[in-house]
């Protein structure tokens, strides 16, 4: 384990231990927060009971759909506009200010257009995630060296083959950054949308438990979302490190 990883682990462990201590000594009362060890125990009980399986399946499926759509559309759109300077100059200021727009403000409109099903929640996840993918795709493509583009022409590759075999592999570390952000934004978008416009899903269950002071459900579910998000992000980071290690000259 590297020194940086050790410091990280110590920092997180110290935070959790402090929280445990504050909860156990009554500084934070039980109605406000459970001790972390109780959260872990209750999460295990919750998972074993299977009572949340439907909500988990629904949320994780919607996050996966929103994330996958954002990655597919974001990469394709980034590749399509990359070569058109005028289009980019027109759109890049919009991308730069995009995250100043509160996407949730559109939820009444999305409900009117698409009803109360899963689609508006997926769309909010998609809308939050897609621009991060586009921006990182453009950033990665900008860094593909001219000589690799010339090499593609020497091999007489068409535009699609050039994108598939040269530019996208070359830009892969940047694309992966986009994917990581897309996953994080898809989680935020879908679970946030479930809070306000859903009758099912983890977001709804957290909100329901909160309204009923049911800490034995609320905190374990928050922990579950945290664990899932961190696990996916860590896996992608590991992949990113492998790619970067292959390319870095030691």
């Amino acid at each position: 384990m590297s020194r940086a990883a050790l410091y990280r682990l110590v920092f997180v462990a110290a935070g959790v231990a402090l929280l445990e201590l504050l909860c156990r000594t009554g500084v934070i009362d039980h109605l406000t927060m459970q001790p972390p060890s109780d959260m872990v125990r209750d999460l295990a009980v919750l998972l074993a009971s299977g009572s949340m399986n439907k909500a988990m399946l629904k949320t994780f499926t919607n996050v996966a759909i929103a994330g996958a759509l954002a990655v597919a559309f974001g990469v394709a759109f980034g590749v399509a506009i990359h070569g058109y300077r005028a289009v980019r100059q027109g759109l890049e200021p919009l991308f730069a200010t995009y995250y100043a727009i509160p996407v949730y403000a559109f939820y009444p409109l999305l409900i009117i257009l698409f009803g109360l099903g899963d689609l508006p929640q997926i769309l909010i996840g998609f809308m939050l995630a897609v621009v991060a993918v586009i921006v990182n795709t453009l950033n990665g493509l900008d860094r593909v060296s001219r000589v690799l583009m010339k090499t593609a022409r020497v091999y007489r590759l068409g535009p699609v083959a050039t994108a598939r075999k040269i530019t996208l592999p070359s830009a892969a570390p940047y694309l992966l950054t986009g994917v990581k952000l897309a996953v994080a934004h898809a989680f935020i978008g879908v679970i946030g949308a479930e809070f306000i416009m859903s009758q099912t899903g983890i977001g709804y269950e957290i909100s329901f438990a909160y309204n009923n002071f049911d800490n034995k459900i609320m905190y374990p579910l928050i922990l579950l979302v945290l664990a899932a998000s961190i696990a996916i992000n860590s896996a992608l980071s590991r992949w990113e490190q492998v790619l970067m290690r292959r390319r870095s000259r030691s």
Binding site: V147, T151, Y155, R156, L157, S170, L243, R247
Partner: protein, 268 residues
């Protein structure tokens, strides 16, 4: 009997020709014939359009006027079949291993698996890359990465090999040794080679004929014949005539190099 392999007639290249006041006349007019199987080098001052000339012959850039033919067919905007290019910059694909880099073009060309394996093995042995077959380019030295690029070009058995300062990033000893390898490959394959270089000694050692270019807009000032036997290697640098050739090249180039630096050509 020698046959013309590549032919350039009154080729020019002007950048920004749309607005005449901003147009930059980069090259030409150049007329030149490369004979089949010869090793031709081009030397010239910085910025004279050497790499532009290579791009035009490769079909990587269009000429503004004149015609370029490879094997009797006009080169227009696409790289013709049978042409291989090695660039000065590192053009290895960093996400692929040495093996996959070298096999890239073969896979694109749909070469059968057994033939692909045979050519790949041959290239790995020829370029001394066998022990690094599974390494990624980042794990190799600059010289080895350039060897990967040369191998990637040679496995396709091009009939015309265009080299744009391929040893520019290497130290002098490695350049001499790489030159030996290049001469051996040239003899073995029988391909026509066009080498762009700023190093007069490199051109004098490797080429049958050397085209000397003027400062921008680059034109061919003179063509120097080296007279070396086909079976030669880097030991010819010790020959008295090697010094004569480089001396002659420098006499032709000195004034042009001064011009390229913005100094009067007549300066002593």
């Amino acid at each position: 009997m020698s046959t013309t392999h590549v032919s350039l007639r009154d080729v020019t290249r002007v950048y920004g020709a749309g607005a005449l006041e901003h147009a930059v006349h980069a090259l030409g007019p150049i007329s030149l014939q490369l004979q089949k199987g010869e090793f031709f080098a081009v030397v010239g001052p910085s910025g004279c359009g050497k790499s532009t000339l290579l791009d035009l012959i490769a079909g990587l850039a269009p000429s503004s006027a004149g015609t370029i033919e490879f094997e009797g067919r006009a080169v227009r905007g696409t790289v013709p079949d049978g042409v291989g290019v090695v660039f000065q910059e590192d053009a290895c694909f960093p996400w692929l291993t040495v093996t996959d880099n070298i096999a890239f073009g073969l896979r694109e060309a749909g070469v059968r698996a057994d033939e692909l394996r045979r050519r790949l093995d041959h290239a790995l042995d020829l370029m001394g890359l066998r022990d690094f077959a599974r390494a990624y380019p980042a794990q190799l030295s600059g010289g080895m990465r350039q060897r990967v690029c040369i191998a990637r070009t040679l496995v396709l058995q091009p009939r015309l090999i265009l080299l744009d300062e391929p040893f520019g990033a290497l130290d002098q000893q490695t350049r001499l040794l790489m030159g030996d390898e290049l001469l051996r490959l040239w003899r073995d394959t029988g391909a026509t080679v066009l080498l762009i270089t700023h190093a007069l000694d490199e051109a004098a050692m490797l080429a049958d004929r050397i085209g000397v270019m003027s400062a921008r807009p680059g034109r061919i000032l003179d063509i120097v014949e080296t007279g070396w036997p086909r079976d030669r290697d880097s030991r010819i640098v010790a020959e008295a005539s090697f010094g004569e050739i480089t001396g002659r090249l420098w006499r032709l180039l000195r004034g042009e190099s001064l011009k390229a630096l913005g100094k009067p050509a007549a300066e002593p």
